[in-house]
Symmetry: C2
Subunit: 265 residues, 2 copies
């Protein structure tokens, strides 16, 4: 015999999916409307609603009500993007300025894209020092990028990029957020200090969001995030950028294509 909260969740799921409440619409009050309708206590009803929250079906807003979660902008990030970024570096600035990598991933036009960036410096902790192959404490330039769709409160994702400060300070323009968005992106920025990327390693995991990410990305507690550690290696074998990128798992797809060598005929 299924638990009451399970049956209620299943019924609410069905009512949402059949469109009884359209996306963005407010659900009936927990108390007294839904508790009366389902003849359960408030605790039991809220347990059912918690399930729907963890599935990303509804949003709870304290003091306001519960809402059917509208479908959000999805991100589809393909591996071709890296070669695309690299090819773009040698285009004239006007072409580089026209569109960025995030537009590629989302299909959004530059006008619909919301963009925010913060620059800062920090000393490398043990983990980052190991990723770069430098001593702990080495000065790093940390840049945090948040991109999203205008009108949607939450960003689509958040990227924290680390560069070796002494490596990029050869071009002081690279040290200030005022120069963002930089036409041609990080690969072009690095090219101004003589760096060419040879290959990029992506390490992908899924995990529960941290409390911070729940706030900033508006991820319902219980929905997972995809966490990507991107390591860029230049043509001399040096690690030149380490970036940690986080997306809501339920609206992000990463696409990787592996080309295989032909067997000899």
């Amino acid at each position: 015999m299924a638990a009451k909260y399970d049956s209620i969740a299943a019924d609410l799921r069905r009512r949402i999916q059949t469109g009884e409440w359209s996306p963005g619409a407010r659900l009936p009050n927990e108390e007294p409307d839904l508790t009366t309708e389902y003849k359960v206590s408030l605790n039991t009803l809220r347990r059912a609603l918690d399930l729907l929250v963890s599935e990303g079906l509804i949003d709870k807003r304290q003091g306001i009500g519960n809402f059917v979660r509208p479908a959000r902008q999805r991100t589809r990030r393909t591996t071709e993007r890296y070669q695309w970024e690299k090819d773009r570096v040698h285009l004239p600035e006007s072409e580089r300025r026209a569109t960025g990598a995030t537009e590629q991933d989302t299909g959004l036009s530059p006008a619909d894209l919301a963009f925010a960036v913060e620059y800062g410096t920090e000393a490398a902790n043990v983990e980052l020092a190991e990723a770069f192959g430098v001593a702990a404490g080495t000065r790093l330039l940390r840049r945090v990028y948040r991109t999203g769709k205008k009108g949607e409160g939450a960003p689509l994702g958040e990227s924290t990029s680390y560069l070796l400060y002494d490596m990029v300070s050869a071009n002081p323009d690279l040290l200030f957020a005022e120069n963002e968005p930089w036409p041609g992106g990080t690969m072009h920025q690095l090219s101004t200090v003589g760096i060419e990327i040879d290959h990029i390693v992506d390490e992908v995991t899924a995990r529960p969001p941290t409390a911070d990410e729940i706030d900033r990305l508006e991820i319902p507690p219980g929905v997972a995030v995809i966490a990507l550690r991107k390591t860029s290696v230049d043509t001399t074998g040096r690690v030149v950028e380490v970036a940690d990128i986080v997306w809501p798992g339920d609206r992000t797809t990463l696409v990787y294509t592996t080309q295989l060598k032909r067997w000899q005929p």
Copy 2:
């Protein structure tokens, strides 16, 4: 002011991480031990424990107790694996038999690896038919693989592979689970009916586990799974295999390396 259940969860987290209870050890009873210690009601205490479950820190076993979750075997699956699989197809059977792809990912020896497979046929639903580019209802060979570490109850992951039945039935050996594990794996199986893989597309998302996956992979509710749709395309451009692979998000890392073309000097 943090909620009580949050503070209690933070304290229990700390006590687990400092080793007050070692992995596998049983926690004190919810009632009366922990409720008395933290001076809260049972509901509040259980809410704190639910947080730890969703973080994968503890296991709850009804009728027995709560246990510190032991660290599990991790999987690290690299993109080089596909070329490795392809190169192996033309090795003599003795070498192909010696080790398989999962050993590569996990670092386990063949002796430590638990392996189970089920074969069946089904009619392609709309979604699979589209992936293959065939008509809905086309007969498919469905193969479900579960691999894990001997002694750990739960598999490390579960892979559901679909092949076009009429394509592989040219070699009847490919239709029966009794021939598994097949030395050289799927790429070798396909080579016996004249198929060479040209490239593979991986699409990665994260999502909450289904009720089934919670049981079979022993994923704590609230911990995410990584879901990978792997599409193999042969040298004539045909989609020849579609596989849906699911791993627990908290102990799987996927690694993808992208080699970029050099700029001209």
